[in-house]
Amino acid sequence: MKNRSLISINDYSKEEQLKILDLAEGFEKNPRQNILNNKVIATLFFEPSTRTRLSFESAISQLGGKIIGFTDAASSSVSKGETLMDTIKTVANYSDLIVMRHPLDGSSRWASEVADVPIINAGDGANQHPTQCLLDMYSIRKTQGSLDNIHIAFVGDLKYGRTVHSLVIALSQFNTTFHLVSPDELKLPSAVKKYIKDAGLNYHQYTDMNEVMDKVDILYMTRIQKERFADPIEYEKVKNSYILKNEMMENTKENMRVLHPLPRVNEIEEAVDQNPKAYYFQQALNGVYVREALLASTLGLI
C-alpha cells in the first residue's frame, strides 16, 4: 500500500483492508509513536469538516508529523479561481502525502492522477469516504471479534448516505446479513443492493426499526435530513419513527452495539449514551487509530 492513493474502499483488496485493521490495533495499543517525524502531511479541506479533519490531524500529530493545509476553500487560493489540478500539483511539491476533502464527486480521483504524492480521500462530495468505512469495519470487528457472519441493521437514510453505501459494499465481502430499515423514500439504491446479491448474500427491508432490534449484532444509525424529502409532510410523518431510545434496547442481544458516523442530531436520545451498548464515541476514537495505520502504511513506514 506504500505510495498508493486511497480514494475508494475498492482500491484496497479485502486482504489490504484487513491489514489496515490489524495495523490499527497496534496503534490502539500504542497511539503515540514518533514515526512521522520529518514528514509533512497536507490536509486540504475544500469544504469544512471539523470531525474528519481533527481526526486526521490528531493522527498525524500523535505520530510526530507536521501539518500544512487549509480548513475551507474561502481561505485558500481556490477563492482566486485556481483549478484543483494546480492546487494539488503545488501542494504535492510541499508535502509527502495529501489528505483531501472536496465538495465535488470524483475530485479526489482526479487529484490522485495529477499528484506525484499519494492522496487519501477524506470525502469527495456524495461519492466516497473510505477512512470512515475502515473505521466502521474496525469498530465492528473490535466489538464482535470478527467481521464474518454479522447481522447488521442500517437505520435511517439509506438512499443518500455514502457511509452506508461504502460499508454495505465492504461488508458484502464477509457473509453479512443485512437488515435495511428506512422510510420508503429513503431505501437503499438498487445499485448498492446489487453488491449484496452478487455476493450471494441476503437482505431484508423494513420500515419499523422495532422489528430488527432483537435480531442484530450491530445497529448502524444514520440521520434523516429534512431536505431529502420532496414533500415536507412525508418528513413530518417519519421524523420521529427512527429515533433510538433506551427502552427499545431491552431485548437486544448482549453483544449488540450501536454505531453512528456522527454528528448526531436527534436520532439517538442522549440517555442512550450511558447504555453500555452505545459505541459511537468509541467508534470516532477508532478513526484516529485507523488513520494512523493508513498514514504509516501509505508512507511505507510500517
Binding site: 483549478t83 484543483l84 470524483g106 475530485s107 482526479w110 461519492n127 445499485a191
Partner: protein
Amino acid sequence: MENKRTELKVSALENGSVIDHIPATSLFQAIRILKLDELDNQVYFGTNLRSDKFGSKGIIKIRDKYFKKEEINKIALVAPTATIIEIKDYEVVKKGKVDTPKVVENFVKCFNPKCITNHQHVPTKFTVINDGGALKLRCRYCEKTTTQATMEFK
C-alpha cells in the same frame, strides 16, 4: 410523360466509407460522435429508410475517408447494429461490424452535475458496462453510471 423518380439518387462512392444499419433514431448522434459536421469531405446521409432487418435505419456515406477502428467503435454506444463498409475504386474492400469499446474517453459527458468533470477541465473516462444488453457507462471519477437515457455527447 416524364418518368417520376421514386428513389433519392445518391451517387456511388468511388473511394470512402459507408456506415449502414444505424438505428434511425441514432443517426444524428452518430454524425455528431464522429464529428462529421467538421469534415471537408463530401458526406451523404439518409434516415428513416426501410430496412428488412431493422425496421427503420439510417445510412451515412463519406467520400475519401476511412476510419480507425477505435474511432468508429465510438458509435457502438448509440448504434451497436452499425456495419462499416470501406470502398476503393467502387469495390467493397472491407466490411465489418462495430465493436463495443471497453472504455470511453472524452466524448461523452458524465450525467452527474456534481461530477468534477462537469466543473473543471477534466477529460471524462468511463468503463462500459453491459447490463443485459443495455450499455451503461461508469464514470472513473464520480463512480456514477450514465445510462443511454442520460447520455450526452461532448
